[in-house]
């Protein structure tokens, strides 16, 4: 895809590091790349670690690291963690997925780099009560997790000095609730996706993040298909380091408002809902699942309820013909999205599916509700 480039988009100061290996001499000659560029990608030689991310597309994307990529990632994450207040002497619990969906290991390495004691907990639902007791036994002062997992952990009543949230936006009501439940903890966020770390939030404004112009170059693709250095649109990420999985003008799928040195997160593009542990499900993925069923569907209703006992995902489909079975829908949902299947198997998400007869309609209705907040 080639887009019209705004006059001011001349690229970062280190643009030659990106352009020269590609035989280009102007930043606006670079094509845009989407998630499909990472599907089925074989890691380059020298890659020693490969993680996967399926996110809202349901198709695994391979994120490979050479040893030098890994070190660069650890350093960047460590700088972000330091910026939100982690330091030597802290004891931090990392309640995030560890392989294959997310590099909890890299967060752990970054925390160790900063001199913290680290308890790698993972995100396995049945572990959480025992993990909470371990956190208390180790005098854990910092919790690194996703907003929805923080919500689940908070029922165990641990006190924290600092809670660092990643992977999802944390809406203000949830933020206030977490602050209270963790005994007055400071709640901070880091903007990071499987593909790239963007940066830490500004303490006074939680949806605005700083970014390091020496490591990243951010642009936005606006509604007219024009690439700009500032303003609203889909975030395009160019990463300076990342030998095994280069990201150049990569469409992250996030809607942002970009300014020099800062970026405001506005939401996911085509996003339907986010489940516990950060599983993001897109409308396109839901449409694909409905298209793949053997029976026509006239109305599909997806209702998510975020609860302390784990998220409840209710799926209600109506079909004008007989024969649509709940187990078929459940299989299609879970086999089409491995990290959703993982969240269900891990006990973070309870799935209820039912179907009945409904009137035939000219157009299928897809309804999505998320309560009591939308992540």
């Amino acid at each position: 895809m080639r887009s019209e480039i705004s006059a001011v988009s001349t690229g970062p100061e280190w643009r030659d590091e990106i352009l020269a290996p590609r035989g280009l001499n102007r930043w606006d000659q670079l094509s845009l790349a989407g998630p499909e560029s990472l599907h089925h990608r074989r890691p380059s030689s020298g890659a020693t670690l490969v993680y996967l991310s399926s996110g809202s597309t349901g198709q695994p994307k391979a994120m490979a690291y050479t040893e030098s990529d890994w070190r660069a990632g650890v350093t960047h994450r460590a700088e972000c963690l330091a910026a939100v207040g982690v330091g030597a002497g802290d004891t931090a619990a990392v309640v995030l997925p560890f392989g294959p969906w997310f590099s909890g290991d890299q967060i752990c390495d970054a925390l160790v780099f900063l001199g913290a004691r680290v308890l790698p907990v993972g995100h396995y639902g049945p572990h959480l009560p025992a993990a909470a007791r371990l956190m208390a036994a180790l005098d854990t002062s910092v919790l690194v997790t996703t907003p929805s997992l923080a919500h689940l952990i908070s029922r165990e009543g641990p006190r924290m000095r600092l809670v660092i949230l990643l992977g999802e936006r944390c809406p203000p009501p949830l933020r206030r609730s977490l602050q209270t439940r963790f005994g007055g903890a400071r709640i901070r966020s880091i903007y990071a996706a499987s593909e790239a770390i963007i940066g830490p939030d500004f303490a006074e404004d939680h949806d605005v993040y700083s970014w390091d112009q020496d490591r990243l170059h951010l642009e936005v693709l606006d509604a007219t298909g024009r690439v700009n250095d500032r303003g609203e649109g889909e975030l395009l990420v160019t990463r300076r380091h990342g030998e095994a999985t280069p990201l150049v003008r990569y469409r992250l799928g996030d809607r942002v408002d970009l300014s020099p040195g800062s970026v405001r997160f506005l939401g996911r593009i085509g996003h339907a809902f986010t489940l516990a542990s950060g599983v993001k499900v897109g409308r396109r993925h839901l449409e694909e699942i409905l298209d793949g069923l053997d029976h026509p569907v006239s109305e599909a209703r997806f209702r998510v309820e975020h609860r302390l006992a784990g998220d409840l995902l209710q799926v209600h489909l109506r079909s004008p013909v007989h024969g649509l079975r709940p187990e078929t829908i459940e299989t299609a949902l879970l086999s089409g999205n491995l990290d959703l299947a993982d969240a269900v198997a891990s006990g973070h998400v309870h799935l209820q599916v039912w179907c009945d007869r409904g009137p035939a309609g000219a157009k299928r209705r897809l309804l999505v509700e998320e309560h009591p907040w939308s992540l």
């Binding site: 670690l49 560890f98 392989g99 294959p100 925390l111 004691r117 993972g122 396995y124 049945p126 198997a345």
Partner: protein, 383 residues
């Protein structure tokens, strides 16, 4: 690896060894060394973790009842364990062309992380998959990733084997639990690669099988292995069976000296037919019985009883499945079952919740359908 002097220096600074006469030790196995006490597993369980002055990772060794048994690894410790695991992989034949799918826990327990570290050092491409998702997810990932090597526990691989339809493997690594001959044959038959088993504890990685598969090769600069009488600190005659007692040159943050593994074994006096010069240790099983649950989880009866926290007696029974050859056709219908029967006024749902909340390994197995847990509060009638 740490030198003996570095290890002793770390031990002198550690509360675990406060009363040990370490000053007189000059070299491994000298009289002063042989007069040192041994370290029991309970010493780690009842010990709070000393405050670290630098970054470290903290892992669980067993369940989380009471004072959990924790193991801390600094960055340099992780490098040393990773180097030892790279020796394991090199002996097995892993190299830069290998694509390794690591199907081991990546958090809470260190086994996945140190396996990954070892293979990274050999230049292999490593996919840290963890155990989540079950057979369907592993199957799909194997088709997607096209691994040449899979690292996991024998029981995970044995459960997956009948359904495996990924590419034939070059080799399979097993660890974390005893490998049965039947499991080895099943895994090799279905996955297509030779199985190399590795032996180690959370506290100390030890060794790996070569192609000859007669005992575990170990590297004396990383692990010192002694065989002592189970009820004393005296060594058994060379080649005789006794308790395996380990000293690790891998971890300075938690020095491990003369640690009683609880495993029975012997040192093999002959050199190996494979020609590798490292010594070997043979393992015969546990000294004290523990429940050998699926996925390599070893659960001691006293941990279960402690988690249950009832005043009366507790009777525990574990049935692994249809073990009689005549009942092989029943295997699909027999799941491993742990039965817990106790005296006391605690309602069974409360007792069950206590067990699951206190022992995450148990919760995971029950949740994923690997183990049936039957809890009843009826009178104990013996047996």
């Amino acid at each position: 690896m740490l030198s003996l002097q570095e290890l002793l220096q770390a031990a002198r600074a550690h509360p675990l060894y406060r009363d040990w006469p370490l000053e007189a030790v000059r070299c491994m196995g000298d009289p002063a060394w042989r007069h040192l006490p041994t370290l029991g597993r309970e010493a780690l369980r009842d010990r709070p973790l000393p405050r670290a002055d630098a970054g470290e990772l903290v892992y669980l060794s067993t369940g989380t009842v009471g004072h959990p048994k924790l193991v801390s690894l600094g960055r340099a410790d992780l490098d040393r364990v990773g180097t030892l695991c790279a020796h394991f992989g090199a002996l097995e034949g892993i190299g830069p062309r290998s694509r390794v799918m690591v199907l081991l826990p990546m958090a809470l327990w260190p086994v996945g992380r140190i396996t990954m570290e070892g293979h990274r050092r050999l230049g292999a491409t490593v996919y840290p998959v963890d155990l989540h998702g079950g057979i369907d997810a592993w199957q799909r990932l194997a088709r997607e990733l096209r691994p040449t090597v899979i690292s996991s526990t024998p029981s995970v691989l044995a459960a997956w084997a009948p359904y495996y339809d990924g590419p034939p493997l070059e080799l399979v690594e097993t660890t974390g639990e005893p490998l049965l001959t039947r499991e080895r044959h099943l895994i090799e038959g279905r996955f297509g690669g030779r199985v190399h088993d590795a032996y180690g504890l959370t506290e100390c990685a030890v060794g790996v099988e070569c192609a000859v598969r007669d005992g575990f090769h170990y590297w004396p600069d990383a692990t010192h292995v002694e065989i002592l009488a189970p009820d004393s600190d005296s060594p058994v005659p060379p080649g005789d069976e006794g308790e395996i007692v380990l000293t690790s040159f891998q971890n300075a943050r938690l020095p491990i000296l003369r640690y009683r593994s609880g495993d029975r074994g012997r040192l093999i006096p002959q050199s190996c037919a494979c020609g590798h010069p490292t010594p070997r240790v043979q393992i015969f099983g546990r000294l004290r019985p523990a429940f050998d649950l699926p996925r390599g989880v070893l659960l001691e009866p006293e941990i279960l009883a402690e988690a249950l926290d009832v005043e009366g007696g507790v009777r525990l029974r574990y049935k692994k499945g249809a073990e009689s050859p005549a009942a092989a056709f029943l295997e699909q219908n027999c799941s491993p079952t742990l039965e817990v029967v106790y005296h006391g006024p605690v309602p069974p749902p409360t007792a069950r919740r206590r067990l699951l909340e206190a022992i995450p390994e148990l919760a995971e197995l029950v949740h994923e359908g690997e183990l049936q847990l039957d809890v009843a509060g009826t009178a104990v009638t013996g047996g």
